[in-house]
């Protein structure tokens, strides 16, 4: 497991993409096939279910560390991660274990039916044989989800470079249902796909946020415009007489949507559709929150089916009569959708997402402003000649969302608030970069939790550079995402820009001040959204 722990540590340490890819390649060229399949399972979120209750692990840990439970709880609260807390409080020593990743998993699997005493003895022995980062990784395998500093896209990139395959093909290999206990690394990654698992979805094609040059260049001759629906992006698959529904998060959600199962009776064998699952009633989508509540429920009761009925809004067809047509131009796929698939349209469970008809950019801007009245959150722009690609790619698909607009800005001034939060710094001024200087552009009062406000208040007190009356100039260190409803030119503001209803969307502790947006970014928003 040392190799795997080293890999995770390298991924953790290196913030640069190329370094991460290098670390992944080093691991995948050195590790055994048995380990590699497990590493892939972990990187794609396929950790086997827990064999031991977390509460038990906690108890054994504080017992072993010789501290009371409350002290463990305090520590956990400070660390924020259970596996890490356990690794930090256990007695420190050198790692002696030579066990590999797959050996650990094989052993953990045998604990499933073991009694508590056996489990405890096993875990204490494992802890005594591991230390430092390896101990942390082991605890993660034991009880946590393993979120590492690497995206699936990066893993796919590393593997496709190593095995000389297209990233889209590699992404496809990793999708769907597979289990590291019963598939070999070379079967999954290297061998030609012979008998494919019928449930296997295609990787989703994702859109970029629209950019200036796109508005300037699109025409109805070359581009489709669709409404952007706010639901769960999904794929419906009908193969070998079975229907599967996958969400974009690569979760098989077939059982969550029983009303869609009857679609199986209509689709021809070998159909894969891309679309959006929406709650839908009275001829229009219901708010996303309705769908979210439904998803949260364990059992789909009759009541839920009545109150939150769902519909599949089809965007695209990826496989038709068993043939993968993703490489065909969108115009072709759309015609299949409109000619054949639309036959199954049924106002209660299945619709083809309509195209927005437009001639000029003015039409489009006006319609875009009315998105909300159509229950949409903006537009999707799709190039008619484009293939259905893998992941987020620039150039052919763009999302053009309605407000809020947002930028990342740096906190530069603060002032004390009134009322409930009197005495705390709650009125903030934010700035964006203009060359080496920060130009203030918005004041925002709300959007933070009480805890965040207190923390920020302490930061401001410690980082005051100057005081002008009630206003403090603060060291420019903290970055926040600032949202606003509109943007316009203004000669009264230093920045030349005024924003409407600015508010803090969220702190961005992951960003350095110099990574905040620039005045130019704001001006771009002004050209696009300005009035």
């Amino acid at each position: 497991m040392k190799e795997f722990a080293d890999l995770l540590r390298n991924l953790d340490r290196n913030t640069k993409t190329l370094e991460k890819i290098k670390a992944l390649k080093t691991y995948f060229s050195n590790a055994s096939d048995e380990d590699k399949i497990w590493a892939l399972a972990l990187f794609t979120g396929r950790r086997p279910p827990r064999k031991i209750k977390t509460a038990q692990v906690r108890e054994w840990a504080w017992e072993k560390a010789g501290i009371p439970e409350w002290l463990f709880a305090e520590s956990y609260q400070h660390v924020g991660d259970l596996a890490e807390t356990v690794a930090l409080i256990l007695p420190q020593h050198n790692s002696i274990s030579q066990k590999s990743l797959h050996e650990w998993f094989a052993e953990l699997e045998t604990l499933k039916k073991a009694d508590d005493e056996t489990k405890k003895a096993y875990i204490l022995k494992a802890w005594a044989s591991l230390s430092g980062f390896e101990l942390f990784v082991f605890n993660k395998l034991l009880m946590g989800s393993l979120r590492v500093g690497v995206s699936q896209t990066l893993v796919i990139r590393a593997l496709s470079e190593m095995y000389d395959q297209e990233p889209s093909g590699m992404a496809h290999r990793l999708m769907g249902q597979w289990n590291p206990f019963d598939i070999r690394f070379d079967e999954l990654i290297i061998q030609e796909n012979t008998a494919q698992n019928p449930s296997k979805p295609y990787p989703f094609f994702l859109a970029y946020t629209i950019e200036n040059h796109v508005y300037e260049s699109i025409s109805p001759l070359e581009w489709f415009v669709e409404w952007k629906w706010d639901g769960i992006r999904s794929q419906i698959i009908f193969r070998e007489g079975q229907l599967f529904i996958w969400s974009r998060g690569e979760e098989l959600v077939t059982d969550k949507f029983p009303e869609l199962h009857q679609l199986a009776q209509h689709f021809p064998e070998g159909t894969v559709l891309d679309g959006e699952i929406l709650c839908y009633a009275d001829g229009h989508p219901l708010p996303f929150s309705t769908l979210q509540q439904r998803i949260g429920r364990k059992n789909i009761t009759k009541k839920i089916l009545q109150e939150a009925p769902v519909l599949f809004m089809a965007y695209d067809v990826l496989e038709w009569n068993g043939i993968d047509i993703r490489e065909k131009p969108h115009e072709y796929r759309r015609s299949v959708l409109e000619t054949y698939v639309a036959e199954f349209e049924n106002d209660s469970i299945f619709k083809v997402s309509p195209l927005v008809s437009w001639n000029t950019m003015d039409d489009l801007s006006r319609l875009h402003n009315e998105s909300r009245t159509y229950y949409a959150e903006g537009f999707m722009l799709k190039r008619k000649s484009a293939a259905y690609q893998t992941g987020r790619k620039k150039g052919d698909w763009y999302k053009w969302k309605v407000k809020p607009l947002s930028v990342d800005a740096v906190l530069v001034y603060a002032q004390k608030g009134h009322g409930r939060r009197a005495g705390l710094f709650t009125d903030y001024t934010f700035a964006v970069w203009k060359g080496e200087h920060l130009v203030p552009f918005a004041k925002a009062y709300s959007g933070l939790t009480d805890k965040e406000i207190r923390e920020l208040d302490a930061f401001i007190k410690q980082n005051t550079v100057e005081k002008f009356g009630p206003v403090r100039t603060v060291n420019p260190l903290r970055v926040f995402e600032i949202g606003f409803e509109g943007i316009q030119q203004s000669s009264r503001h230093k920045s030349g820009i005024a924003v409407r209803f600015p508010r803090i969307l969220r702190p961005r502790p992951d960003k350095y001040a110099h990574e905040a947006d620039t005045l130019e970014n704001l001006q771009n928003l002004l050209t696009v959204y300005g009035v």
Binding site: N14, A65, S75, L88, Q92, Q462, L477, P509, Y512
Partner: protein, 340 residues
């Protein structure tokens, strides 16, 4: 706490009524004994200061050359209104001292900040027996266990060597006073160019002028050609993180030296490339050992995990209570998580 006891806790700090002297006061006082020169302990505006002689250079740099300052050696007793005081090594930074106060057979010790590991630059910590012990608790949670500093410095050296191989600059962040001198002495011999941010440079130069054995370093602002930074080591304080000042070092890797780096979330929040778990404070076991070594029955816990550590000590049968102080406020809030 009784007002008649030898030391009491006033709104401006730890106070000895019998001697009319304050220890590390955070408001201007008539007479102030200073444990060490970090800004959360040595504050501006008191009339007379008293500290260890190794604190002098920095106290004058920070509080003004003309402050009224009396210095003493470790172990050298001095009397104020019949109270016997002496300073004892705290091992935290150069000149850091525990303050021992004795009156009519009652002995109190105020630690200021301390660590038990010998860093090779400051005088190593010496336990002092007492009845009443006022201890810090910056890292007073059982998750904090420092590895031997040799291990950490080996990591730092390896990181610098890797960066040099790649031709990138190593930017190492840490507290200007204490951490940086420890790093400079421990990394020696420095067979590559070393540059420093003004804050680090000023402290280093002042100590060198005062005769302390530190290598000379160059100030970043004096370098006009960026190519000199290639493969060099740059020492800076945490406040440089995320500022345009850093751009001149590109491409670079940033490492932060602090005990807080033991927790991944703290490290990740800073978005530095590396976090080196190097602290000038006692870890959990050191705190417990220090408390035990004093033989004191009454423990007062200041900056850090005061409530946790005092509850822990109480459960072990000691009389412990937490004190609200203004020590250490910097590092609870500063985004760079440095330690004072």
């Amino acid at each position: 706490m009784k007002t008649k006891s030898l030391l009491s806790f006033s709104p401006s700090g730890i106070y000895c009524p019998e001697a009319d002297v304050q220890i590390d006061p955070w408001r201007p006082a008539e007479k102030a004994i200073i444990t060490h020169a970090h800004s959360d302990h040595a504050r501006y505006g008191s009339k007379h200061y008293l500290a260890h002689k190794d604190s002098e250079a920095i106290l004058r740099l920070r509080l003004g050359n003309d402050i009224s300052l009396q210095t003493v050696e470790y172990g050298e007793p001095f009397y104020i209104n019949g109270v016997r005081f002496s300073l004892h090594p705290a091992g935290h930074i150069l000149g850091s001292a525990q303050v021992r106060a004795e009156y009519k057979g009652e002995v109190w010790v105020v630690t200021g900040d301390y660590k038990l590991q010998d860093d090779g630059f400051s005088a190593p910590f010496e336990p002092v027996t007492c009845h009443h012990f006022i201890t810090e608790s910056t890292f007073g949670l059982p998750i904090y266990h420092w590895e031997p500093q040799e291990t950490i410095f080996a990591e730092i050296k390896e990181w610098i060597a890797e960066n040099r191989e790649k031709g990138i600059t190593s930017v190492l962040l840490g507290y200007a006073l204490g951490k940086m001198q420890r790093i400079l002495t421990r990394l020696a011999p420095l067979d590559y160019p070393v540059f420093a941010h003004g804050a680090v440079y000023n402290v280093n130069e002042r100590l060198r002028e005062a005769g302390y054995a530190l290598p000379p370093i160059q100030q970043v602002s004096e370098v006009s050609d960026k190519k000199h930074f290639k493969g060099a080591l740059v020492l800076a304080t945490g406040s440089a993180l995320g500022t345009p000042w850093m751009k001149r070092f590109e491409p670079y890797s940033v490492g932060n030296c602090s005990g807080w780096m033991a927790v991944r979330a703290s490290k990740n929040r800073l978005n530095t490339d590396r976090g080196f778990v190097l602290s000038d404070h006692a870890d959990w076991n050191e705190l417990n050992r220090a408390v035990e070594a004093t033989g004191a029955e009454n423990i007062y816990v200041t900056h850090g995990f005061t409530s946790v550590f005092s509850r822990w000590l109480n459960e072990k049968g000691l009389h412990a209570q937490e004190l609200k102080t203004l020590y250490g406020v910097e590092y609870e809030t500063e985004n760079t998580l440095s330690e004072a």
